[in-house]
């Protein structure tokens, strides 16, 4: 089965081609079926691979396909790598991907671009699988950029809205900034290790000293790549804007899979990062800062998808925080659980939006509990999971990270817990505003309210189940679990683990930590309940004056504006300056100046030709005298 791993990306590719070419001719049902089946087939193969790998003693396989680029010493094969990390990721991508495809058949059923949508989704799955499967950084980079492309395409899916198109462009460009870092890192990797193959690099790296300069630079650059892709500070602003895309896209790409690519990549390169503790430190700080920043922004957002988007950014921050403290397993654990509950939440939000006739402002919702019971229930599960309340999945993964953080730096832990408290608050705020209270929308919307079709609710239910039980793959020892995930992934992180101080928290401390965070989350939930259910508060209209902090949060700390005035506008005026002044006046002026100068010279030269014989002869005599003087001296 492992040798057939190429089938995994092939199916979505075929799906893409069929749907892409037949987008106008095939019927919607065929398209939907093709799209779903392609991913389902991949999922089945992935499952087979997973089972085989689990059973196998060897935990890492390389499946070469063909030589891709070779120039001199640079040889880049097109080959895939199957190990526990990629196998798990395959399952997540294809599994959740399938659910979201399924969901989309319902969600997008009225859209004119149905075929296009499915072809894009399939293409995304294809690239995501390339990213996951690539056996070297360059193949990974293909997927890396490819998912960026799909993200661009899908954010700008409704391209006639030019702000959506701008959001798409923004996403692509911000990703590209990271990609440049990634690319240069690849070059540096090549010069350092003379290869870009994981299988060649990691053993070599393992023998290097911690804090090696090359490693620090490589990891920093890789991290720049991860920042772009996984929407960390300072490149996170594209992700909230990316909510312009259809909601399944937000669920799949901008929550469950693509944005976690950065974490996947760092986890994949864990040995490099382990040996670059300085970089890890930076990662931790960036993650922490991002999680707090995003969490505080989410608190005041009124767009249901924006809340989820900032929540995603914030959760990604947790993952980076985890990576930063060396909790690779924990971070990856959180990737998995987050994929479950965040996909669920987005799909739920999509269901709400669907029901609300594309209304996204929570101020116009409320009281949807009764009309959308399945959606409410599943979303509540998701919310509990993300808030980190036991025993739902989010609890386990978040607390594993926080435990490592505590051991690493207690201040970080405090801040992390504060983030968790915020998370709980804004998530419940969202739930209460949407589902509790009375309906605040128009009558037309109210009239139209209905529960989503089963194609949409089934994925919700499945994901809800996963959100509940997903945490059990990594039950820590204190709960008597064997932490299956850690064991499964251990071949991947083994070398790193050997170079890292081991978790030495005693159980009582661990329990206290959990208790504190759970208590915090519960407190936040109660506060939200008090505020929005009991008092029935509704966030203020846009025009109402807000307090300084609230205004900062509500306006996302003006980060977009800061970027515009610091980068975009200066670049635009620089462009104008280069074009109009340097190019036109300066260089071209110089070039034209030669021509003009020649013409001017001509204008004055021709005056010499005065038409007067006397003058001509005088000039001749002048020349003759000059020549004679010359010969006088020369003799």
């Amino acid at each position: 089965m492992i040798n057939l791993v190429w089938l995994v990306p092939l199916f979505p590719l075929i799906g893409f081609l069929i749907n892409g070419l037949g987008r106008n001719t095939l019927s919607k049902s065929v398209i939907g079926l093709t799209g779903c089946l392609a991913v389902l087939a991949s999922f089945i193969v992935s499952l087979g691979i997973f089972i085989e790998l689990n059973a196998s003693n060897t935990k890492s396989f390389i499946v070469p396909l063909f030589d891709w680029i070779s120039a001199g010493t640079v040889k880049i094969p097109f080959s895939f790598m199957v190990d526990p990390l990629s196998a798990l990721m395959l399952l997540i991508v294809t599994g959740i991907g399938f659910l979201i495809h399924l969901y989309s058949t319902g969600y997008m059923s009225h859209d004119a671009g149905f075929g296009k949508f499915f072809s894009y989704l399939n293409l995304f799955i294809f690239f995501m699988l390339l990213l996951v499967l690539g056996s070297n950084y360059v193949i990974m980079f293909i997927g890396w950029e490819g998912v960026g492309l799909c993200s661009y395409l899908l954010i700008g899916f409704w391209y006639t809205n030019s702000s959506y198109a701008s959001a798409a462009k923004k996403a692509f460009i911000m990703n590209r900034i990271g990609d440049l870092g990634f690319l240069i890192a690849v070059f540096l990797i090549f010069t350092t290790f003379n290869s870009v193959e994981f299988a060649v690099i990691f053993p070599q790296a393992a023998s290097m000293l911690a804090g090696d300069r090359a490693l620090i630079i490589i990891t920093s650059l890789l991290f720049v790549g991860a920042i772009g892709k996984s929407a960390q500070l300072p490149l996170f602003t594209w992700l909230p804007d990316a909510m312009a895309g259809p909601t399944p896209v937000s669920a799949l790409i901008h929550a469950a899979t693509m944005v976690t690519a950065g974490i996947y990549m760092i986890a994949r390169s864990n040995i490099l990062f382990t040996l670059a503790p300085q970089t890890l430190h930076v990662i931790a700080i960036v993650g922490l800062a991002t999680l707090l920043l995003a969490a505080t922004i989410a608190v005041t957002q009124n767009d249901i998808k924006k809340v989820l988007a900032y929540s995603t950014v914030s959760q990604l921050g947790y993952m980076f925080l985890g990576l930063g403290v060396g909790a690779y397993t924990g971070a990856f654990f959180h990737v998995i659980t987050h994929a479950f509950f965040k996909a669920l939440l987005f799909l739920g939000a999509g269901s709400v939006i669907h029901a609300m006739s594309n209304e996204q402002d929570m101020r116009n919702m409320g009281g949807l509990k009764k009309k959308l019971p399945v959606t409410f229930l599943t979303m509540m599960i998701g919310t509990i999971a993300i808030a980190g309340l036991p025993p739902f999945s989010g609890f386990f993964s978040k607390d594993e990270i926080l435990a490592h953080v505590y051991e690493h730096n207690q201040l970080f832990w405090v801040l992390g817990v504060i983030g968790a408290v915020f998370t709980s608050f804004y998530m419940f705020r969202m739930m209460f505003l949407t589902f509790n209270g009375s309906f605040r929308g128009t009558t037309a919307q109210e009239h139209h309210l209905h529960e989503s079709p089963s194609s949409m609710t089934i994925p919700l239910i499945v994901l809800a189940v996963l959100s509940v039980i997903g945490g059990f793959i990594g039950i820590p020892e204190i709960f008597g679990g064997g932490h299956w995930l850690q064991n499964f992934l251990s071949p991947v992180f083994a070398v790193s683990a050997g170079k890292m101080p081991h978790l030495t928290l005693d159980h009582s401390t661990e329990f206290i930590l959990m208790a504190v965070s759970v208590a915090g989350a519960l407190g936040a939930m109660l506060f939200a309940y008090q505020k929005y259910v009991k008092k029935g508060e509704v966030p203020a209209e846009d025009r109402i004056e807000r307090g300084t902090l609230a205004r900062l949060s509500y306006n996302k700390y003006y980060i977009d504006e800061i970027y515009a005035s610091l980068i975009t506008r200066p670049l635009d005026s620089l462009s104008g300056f280069f074009h109009k002044v340097v190019d036109k006046k300066g260089i071209d002026g110089l070039v034209n100046g030669f021509g003009k100068g020649a013409i001017e010279a001509s204008k004055s030269f021709r005056l010499l030709q005065s038409g007067m014989v006397g003058f001509y002869i005088f000039m001749m005599v002048f020349g003759i005298v000059a020549l004679l003087v010359y010969s006088m001296y020369k003799i």
Partner: protein
């Protein structure tokens, strides 16, 4: 019959045929343009990808001056032959949509130019190279000036004089080298053998570089280019950007650096820096361009700057990247200008501000355009990525900071390309663009060829890389040895 002579002279004969073809010139041109491609295909099939020169032709031309008609094909030339003979049919096909006045002359000039280009890419004799160099220039001047836009006369005059100024300086260098050879020959092999002192090589380097830099164009010799691209008829722009500027790049690889290795050693860094400045500078200018052709023109400067930087980094990756990127850039820029032409022809405007939402009435065009844009911004699995990856790697091997600067093209390219795509294709349609009709069969076939090439090369570039590998590594070694000896 020497196959290479056939290759070079078939276009010339085609040009002659065109002149007497009259009304049927258009379709005849389409058919005739396939002949050189067929010859190239034959040559490619029989080509052995080692460092040797194949299909060598060596006929005495003006023996008393040491001038021979010496031409041959190695891996480097092969790629350019493919490029030229592949693009010319596409360009001719793309011109079918235009009502061209005096079309027989138009196609005759294109074929004439093709001959010149093929001469440049195969010449192994300095004089022959120069002759080809200029022959390629005359027809394009006429194409641009006869069928161009409003300001064509002024703009092309500048272009012509500018480029010819550069090439005349190059001629001096060629003659000078000729005089230095022991047996007064123009043979490139003799030029390679020369051991001139480094100051002499310095000025020879600059003499050649000036000619090539103007042709490519490298910052700050580029100001003719946006105007010319904008004013030229689309076929002319395609010829200029798709093939002609490769003359400069090819010249750097084949003539400049191997002939003046010490000059390169002393001045290569300067050239590299200029190239990289060009990348960033042109990209930034492209940000705010409102004229679609001008925007593409500036983007071309940026891309060529990167190619040039890759060459001046002078290592395997950079050179191989340059080789494949020459092909890629040719394909992409031709596609890009073709799309621009479709839009300009239908809309009657080049202003981005007046376009928008074309994707809705013309989804096929939108897809093709997107593929071309992606190829241009070097998305993986498109041809552009292979080239830029290798080029950046080459520059990186030279200096990491240069690579970082040149790498900005990845970001900046995306910025202006996507801006253009958005402004043209996305957004709501306005009253102009709603009636936009999607591409027809001819256009579709051109765009299909271009798109397929973009993706196929992107997925499987190895056959192309393989062509030039041995030749490049041989050249590299030769030059490095000379520099080392010094």
């Amino acid at each position: 019959m020497e196959i290479l002579l056939l290759q070079i002279f078939i276009p010339l004969i085609a040009a002659a045929v065109m002149l007497i073809a009259g009304k049927s010139a258009r379709s005849l041109a389409g058919v005739l343009s396939l002949l050189p491609l067929a010859v190239t295909a034959y040559m490619y099939v029989n080509f052995v990808p080692d460092a040797s020169i194949q299909y060598l032709v060596n006929l005495p031309w003006v023996p008393q001056f040491g001038i021979n008609f010496k031409a041959g094909v190695d891996g480097i030339s092969m790629i350019l032959l493919i490029l030229t003979n592949l693009l010319i049919p596409i360009i001719i096909l793309s011109s079918f949509k235009h009502e061209i006045k005096n079309q027989s002359a138009f196609y005759a000039l294109i074929f004439f130019m093709q001959s010149g280009l093929l001469l440049v890419f195969t010449a192994l004799d300095g004089f022959l190279f120069y002759v080809g160099w200029e022959i390629a220039l005359i027809p394009i001047y006429f194409i641009c000036a006869l069928w161009g836009g409003q300001n064509r006369i002024q703009v092309n005059l500048k272009f012509f004089i500018y480029t010819i100024a550069g090439s005349l300086i190059m001629l001096l260098a060629i003659i000078y080298l000729h005089l230095q050879t022991p047996n007064n020959s123009y043979d490139i092999a003799e030029f390679y053998k020369l051991n001139l002192d480094s100051s002499t090589q310095g000025w020879i380097f600059w003499a050649f570089f000036l000619a090539f830099a103007i042709k490519m164009p490298v910052f700050p010799f580029h100001t003719w280019q946006p105007d010319t691209y904008t004013e030229a008829p689309t076929a002319g722009t395609m010829l200029l950007s798709g093939i002609m500027l490769k003359m400069g790049i090819y010249g750097v690889i084949r003539w400049l650096i191997p002939v003046a290795p010490l000059g390169f050693h002393d001045w290569g860094l300067t050239a590299l820096v200029l190239s990289i400045i060009g990348v960033v500078y042109a990209s930034i200018i492209a940000f705010t361009q409102n004229d679609i052709k001008r925007l593409i023109a500036y983007s071309s400067i940026a891309h060529v700057g990167l190619i040039s930087a890759g060459i001046f980094a002078w290592n395997m990756q950079g050179l191989q990247g340059a080789m494949i990127q020459m092909l890629n850039h040719g394909i992409n820029v031709v596609g890009m200008f073709f799309v621009a032409d479709i839009i300009i022809r239908r809309m009657g405007t080049r202003e981005l501000d007046q376009l928008g939402g074309i994707a809705k009435p013309a989804p096929k065009l939108a897809i093709a355009f997107l593929i071309i844009v992606l190829g241009t911004v070097a998305l993986p699995l498109t041809n552009g990525f292979i080239g830029e990856f290798l080029l950046l790697m080459g520059v990186y091997n030279y200096n990491i900071y240069f690579a970082a600067l040149a790498g900005l093209t990845i970001i900046l390219g995306a910025v202006y390309m996507l801006r253009m795509y958005q402004k043209v294709m996305l957004g709501v349609t306005n009253e102009r663009t709603t009636i936009f009709s999607d591409i027809d069969t001819t256009e579709k076939s051109v765009l299909l060829i271009v798109s397929v090439l973009i993706i196929v090369i992107g997925i499987y570039p190895q056959p192309i890389l393989h062509i030039s590998e041995a030749a490049i590594s041989n050249l590299l070694e030769q030059v490095n040895q000379k520099i080392l000896v010094q």
